[in-house]
């Protein structure tokens, strides 16, 4: 009876949208959480950030009483250690998480703890340690920026004299590859190590070189190079800068990305007119068109299972996010806004997709909950951001 309203909601949603995708660990049922009042002298900021983080997720519902909850969280501090104890109210089973030291890097610690709690409660991957990179105008030149999922830890990664665009972050969240325009013409691909902040040149040429993303093992990047006549897809080792041409065509090609299936990548091409999504089997070079809608289809992002992908589809002048399986079944229009969505990223937790939109004055970074199609605005930036990527 207690779950009746959620059941009705889900049934209603299924009937309206025709939603059929089986997400790994869907956990459509919200978990009820009771958090004890925080009593320690220090650590309030971590406590409030964790509460704020968990409250925004549709599958975590805060309960007013312990008895009505599935899980209870109590937090306290001792010396330089912050403790969080998660208890399963029904079974009494409990888990303790310790942050030490906790007084510095408050937001990172809060995000880390939020993920630990979320993962234990839902048995799915957390999302709060996600790193987001994007390009934004800064005093007349576009630079690369990094932030966390709360938008509270902004960092300007580049200080280049010419425009820097299209950053992509590695799966292990350590590296960022981006494109820098050279003076005159041509572009360079550069790599930033987020641990050391070293910014090294990978290659430069007269073509437009644009990274699509990292390969599954993070040892190389997939990028496209086009000179106006021919588009070429390469895999480029970030260790020794060795590049391997995977595909070439006279069509326009962008966004080479991993499908998370070994030996298979995806990309966007207008080989047959409007842009569509294709896959390339690297060993036998076999190319297969996977998107079958006749419209404008770009910006693919695959689930880590490799079974489904999200993409941007343009219809009636608006760019919305769609999700579908590789064989074209389980097709769902995920967003219905009049705004334009850009660069969807299917997070490792397969329930959520990260995207952004902008109007004339600001950009909004949005978390989309797939089962409920709820849009959660994570943060706004009072400027136009572009080329967002996240992991």
């Amino acid at each position: 009876m207690k779950y009746l309203k959620y059941l009705i909601f889900v049934l209603l949603f299924v009937s309206i949208s025709g939603f059929k995708i089986e997400i790994t660990n869907p956990n459509l049922r919200p978990f009820r959480l009771f958090i004890d009042e925080f009593r320690a002298k220090h650590g309030e900021k971590i406590y409030s950030q964790v509460v704020s983080n968990l409250k925004m997720l549709p599958n975590i519902v805060f309960s007013n009483t312990r008895d009505a909850a599935d899980y209870e969280v109590s937090m306290n501090t001792e010396a330089d250690t912050f403790n969080a104890i998660l208890t399963n109210v029904k079974t009494g089973e409990f888990f303790t998480f310790k942050l030490k030291p906790f007084a510095t890097d408050i937001i990172s610690n809060a995000n880390l703890l939020s993920d630990k709690l979320y993962e234990k409660i839902t048995q799915t991957k957390g999302i709060f340690s996600t790193k987001i990179v994007f390009s934004m105008n800064w005093k007349g030149v576009r630079q690369i920026f990094l932030t966390d999922i709360t938008g509270k830890m902004f960092k300007k990664l580049t200080n280049n004299k010419s425009d820097s665009i299209a950053p992509k972050i590695s799966h292990n969240r350590r590296y960022v590859v981006y494109t820098q325009y050279l003076n005159g013409s041509g572009t360079a691909l550069r790599l930033i190590d987020l641990e050391t902040l070293e910014d090294k040149l990978l290659l430069s040429s007269k073509e437009i070189n644009l990274a699509g993303g990292f390969e599954k093992d993070d040892k190389s990047i997939l990028y496209v190079s086009f000179d106006g006549k021919v588009s070429r897809i390469y895999a480029l080792s970030i260790q020794d800068n060795h590049k391997n041409e995977l595909y070439r065509t006279r069509a326009r090609v962008v966004s080479p990305v991993t499908t998370f299936e070994v030996g298979r990548i995806a990309f966007v091409s207008d080989e047959y007119g409007s842009p569509q999504i294709f896959t390339l089997n690297i060993s036998d070079k076999k190319v297969q068109r996977v998107s079958q809608n006749p419209g404008y289809i770009t910006s693919p992002s695959f689930t880590v299972q490799g079974t489904h992908y999200a993409y941007i589809g343009q219809a009636n002048g608006n760019r919305n996010i769609y999700i579908t399986s590789l064989d074209g079944s389980d097709f769902v229009l995920l967003t219905h806004g009049k705004t334009n969505y850009e660069d969807p990223v299917w997070l490792e937790n397969e329930r959520f997709i990260l995207s952004y939109s902008f109007n004339k004055e600001s950009s909004k970074v949005i978390l989309i909950d797939i089962p409920t199609q709820q849009n959660i605005i994570l943060f706004s930036v009072p400027a136009k951001i572009s080329y967002m990527s996240a992991r």
């Binding site: 665009i165 106006g228 770009t298 004055e361 080329y387």
Partner: protein, 199 residues
């Protein structure tokens, strides 16, 4: 103080809605010819008349305090100025394309003929052809389209006898619109090739 000056600069540039036209006049060097200037003025005026949200935006800007100015607004204002002062003569002209197309129109070929004549006059001059797109479509795909647009202009000039070594190409996709906004009037201006000399 610096922010205050930037604030007033921004108000003058944006609220008056014609910075790209007025800025070069200060230098007494017409960057746009009379016809181009009229077209641009018309586009901006039409946009202001027909786009209600744009009007609201302009009214909103008047209420801004220096603290409200974002790096993006400053960058756009600077970009509008730099675009207006890039080139003069034949190189100040642009060629325009149909939606999602990189085919040269008859008008575009006329402009390229003038550019070729100019390059034949100044034999040591090297230029970059910049391909641009309108706001529709995704950024990365538009970068590819912009490169195609730049390449067709390069090929046309090359066929007219201009050495390829004097012609570089680059694409900015939809990242550097000539005019901010939406609607075919604006989009048609933004789908363009621009020319820039290599210093």
């Amino acid at each position: 103080m610096k922010k205050f000056i930037l604030f007033f600069l921004l108000l003058i540039l944006v609220a008056c809605a014609k910075p790209a036209i007025e800025a070069p006049k200060v230098q007494n060097e017409p960057v746009l010819n009379g016809k181009e200037e009229a077209v641009l003025k018309d586009a901006i005026d039409n946009k202001a008349k027909t786009d209600k949200s744009n009007l609201e935006e302009l009214q909103g800007l008047k209420k801004l305090s220096p603290e409200d100015i974002t790096p993006d607004m400053i960058a756009n204002a600077q970009h509008a100025l730099s675009d207006a002062t890039i080139e003069k003569g034949a190189l100040a002209k642009m060629i325009h394309f149909d939606f999602d197309s990189y085919e040269l129109t008859a008008e575009a070929k006329q402009v390229l003929d003038e550019v070729a004549k100019y390059l034949n006059e100044y034999k040591t001059l090297r230029i970059v052809i910049e391909g641009h797109c309108d706001e529709r479509g995704t950024r990365e795909y538009n970068l590819a389209l912009g490169m195609k647009r730049a390449e067709v202009a390069k090929k046309y000039l090359s066929d007219l006898g201009i050495a390829e070594s004097r012609l570089e190409i680059v694409s900015y996709g939809k990242d550097k619109p000539l005019i901010e906004g939406s609607g075919e009037e604006v989009w048609s201006k933004n789908r363009r090739d621009q020319f820039r000399r290599i210093q």
